[in-house]
């Protein structure tokens, strides 16, 4: 097939559909995930039908609560910020072929570090204190997930299992710190660190009820896209992800790439924790372990590990999370309903991996010759 396309010199036997050729492969990367998403929704609709609930009502409620009004959009968008960060924590290591699923630990510890620093920095102006707190949160996350990358490269420890174990350890560590050394004696029924002073809290984007974390997360997604698609670092990472031996023969610093990419992913997850504490909760407590890290895994896989595609997918999933409460109350469904929906979509997306390259419609050659 490749030979055919070479013999087609431009201009000689060019077909009118030739301009579609470069688009075909890209279209595959959009059409298949969207089709899989719809298939996942359809499968979940079947599940609801079997339980005697109306799927139409369900999706209508989800739409209303997630995207129906300006208020619901603000609710959705403020939930999207941590999800964007969490998905980046999966997508960056994925570039190197690593499946890191422990972003939850980095989020929780990043938030705890933020809360602890906030106590130490009380009294400093926001311009000084906030960047230091953000740095502390990001560094904590970077250390946590970077350690997973280092263990993978230098000790051969499976990164998927190690990262999830470290998530459990991170949550236990947070519980210990928040209930012990860092506990604010005034927090009685919900152990927390001392509340952050007003000056050390992140405000809202002007005119919206959404904190600045959303803008920062969006910028991080774009920058990550530039890093992995347009820089030699990203290119080197892709080679190392495809074939470690080949990358080492080429003299690429595989170890530094793995540790660097996992640490950067961890830093983003740490930032998610920072914004959860400094913009939403006002102190570090057990609410940090809200499952954003796990939803981030689904988002990254749905977006096929592309940082730009993460943006719409994260907003969609944030809308689902935002609708959870209303769906429960109106339709008398358990609170795990959205979790089941997410899992069904996740399974279908992974099954759809088998369809890539199966359709001639998406083959560039089909549009050049015939």
């Amino acid at each position: 097939m490749a030979e055919q396309s070479v013999t087609m010199a431009p201009g000689t036997g060019g077909r009118r559909t030739e301009w579609l050729a470069p688009l075909a492969r890209r279209a595959e990367g959009v059409v298949l995930p969207v089709a899989a998403l719809i298939a996942g929704f359809a499968l979940f609709a079947l599940f609801l039908l079997m339980l005697g609930k109306s799927p139409v009502d369900f999706y209508e409620l989800v739409y209303k609560a997630g995207f129906g009004t300006a208020f619901s959009w603000q609710n959705t968008l403020s939930r999207a910020a941590p999800l964007l960060f969490a998905a980046l924590c999966v997508a960056l290591p994925a570039r190197l072929g690593l499946v890191v699923i422990g972003g939850e630990g980095a989020i929780v510890l990043g938030g705890t570090a933020t809360g602890a620093l906030g106590v130490c920095l009380a009294g400093t102006p926001g311009v000084v204190g906030l960047p230091l707190m953000a740095l502390g949160g990001a560094l904590t996350g970077a250390l946590w997930i970077g350690a997973v990358g280092a263990l993978r490269h230098y000790r051969g420890v499976n990164e998927t299992i190690a990262s999830l174990l470290m998530a459990y350890i991170g949550i236990a560590l947070m519980n210990f710190l928040v209930e012990g050394p860092l506990r604010d004696p005034a927090s009685l029924n919900k152990p927390s660190t001392a509340p952050l002073p007003r000056s050390l809290q992140v405000g809202d984007i002007p005119g919206m009820d959404v904190h600045w974390g959303l803008i920062v997360a969006l910028v991080c997604c774009v920058l990550t896209w530039v890093l992995i698609e347009r820089t030699s670092w990203g290119f080197a990472a892709r080679i190392a992800g495809g074939n470690v031996r080949a990358a080492q023969v080429q003299g690429l610093p595989v170890g530094r790439l793995i540790v660097g990419f996992t640490a950067l992913g961890g830093a983003f997850a740490g930032l998610a924790g920072f914004y959860e504490v400094a913009a939403v909760q006002g102190s570090a407590n057990a609410s940090l372990a809200a499952g954003y890290g796990y939803t981030g895994i689904l988002i990254a896989f749905l977006a096929r590990q592309n940082p730009l595609a993460i943006i719409p997918v994260a907003i969609l999933l944030a809308g689902f999370e935002a609708s959870s409460g209303l769906v429960q109350r109106r339709m008398d469904l358990p609170d795990a309903t959205i979790l089941v929906l997410k899992a069904v979509v996740f399974v279908v997306i992974l099954v759809s991996d088998t369809l890539y390259g199966r359709f001639r419609l998406f083959s560039p050659e089909r549009w050049r010759t015939r």
């Binding site: 350890i169 519980n175 089941v340 997306i349 099954v351 991996d353």
Partner: protein, 307 residues
């Protein structure tokens, strides 16, 4: 607390805890040994464990028989294993990612259908008092061994025998070590892997039923905190050997019992850190037993996790 056995209380409590806590580890890791020996990895057994716990509890409550619950959990586990096996047989599908998604699905479905069973009380599985020879109540309590633990030991021995000496074991090992060699022998690797994954799922389901029907003995959403996942890591530590998996399960059970054991003698300070002990132990064991050049001894050749 009728007899004072002093400092011995902690090791006795850990021994009893190890026996109680290790059973789910044992079942999940035996299932995973079987699955991984065929060349597949199933990371989703955590979800199977939780769903097994819920379905086992639900059926035991509705039918009044704990053993019917165990059967239901095994059946549910088989279905999850079958699903995992079928999906992973498709070309170009990432078996690690599929495991993660099925972990979510198992947990999600268990929580979804489990809300109705948080309150009711289901019958428990019977246990055998193996501590009758001692008159120390703590030791008697520690040696009150559940039947499933004993079944687990028998299963471990059977599995080891099967892998080593039987035709089925040989087929499983060939498929796990080389897909090409298996094909050359006229075997159908995908079919055998699906069967191994389904059986492994059944084991994990039974492990879940133990959680809800014996210890801790009730269904709640927090019933498993990563035991299924730790059991998968434990298989690497046990070098894919059922007998070693049994000892590893006991060790992990002991680590899990450390927190409650210390609490029982009044050491409550920082007990959240003791709850992290099993995870830290698992991670430490993984670090100690992994090797950067990937040639892990005893690993099935087709296993994606060690390739």
């Amino acid at each position: 607390m009728s007899t004072d056995i002093g400092a011995w209380a902690v090791p006795v409590a850990i021994l009893g805890g190890a026996i109680r806590v290790s059973t789910p580890f044992l079942f999940v890791s035996l299932g995973e040994v079987l699955t991984e020996r065929s060349g597949r990895i199933n990371l989703g057994l955590e979800g199977t464990l939780v769903f097994g716990a819920m379905s086992g509890y639900a059926v035991a409550y509705l039918s009044g028989s704990a053993w019917l619950g165990v059967l239901a959990a095994a059946l549910a586990g088989t279905l999850f294993g079958l699903l995992h096996g079928l999906i992973c047989s498709l070309p170009k599908v990432n078996d690690i990612a599929v495991g993660i998604s099925l972990m979510l699905l198992g947990t999600g479905l268990a929580f979804f259908f489990g809300t109705a069973f948080v309150q009711p009380v289901a019958p428990h599985l019977p246990s055998i008092p193996l501590g009758w020879w001692s008159d120390i109540p703590q030791l008697q309590a520690a040696l009150r061994v559940n039947v499933l633990f004993l079944i687990g030991i028998v299963l471990a021995l059977l599995l080891a025998w099967m892998l080593k000496t039987t035709r089925v074991g040989l087929i499983l090992r060939v498929v796990g070590d080389s897909t090409d060699a298996a094909r050359a022998m006229g075997l159908r690797p995908n079919l055998i892997r699906i069967a191994a994954t389904a059986t492994g799922g059944a084991f994990a389901g039974v492990g879940g039923a133990y959680l809800s029907l014996f210890y801790p003995g009730s269904w709640s959403e927090g019933i498993s905190s990563g035991q299924g996942l730790m059991a998968v890591a434990l298989v690497i530590f046990a070098r894919w050997d059922p007998i070693k998996a049994f000892w590893a399960a006991l060790l992990f059970g002991g680590a899990g019992a450390l927190g409650p054991a210390l609490q029982s003698v009044g050491i409550a300070k920082g007990y959240y850190l003791y709850y992290a002990a099993p995870y830290v132990l698992t991670l430490g064991v993984l670090i100690a037993t992994s090797s950067p050049n990937r040639a892990t001894t005893g690993a099935p050749g087709e296993l994606s996790i060690t390739k």
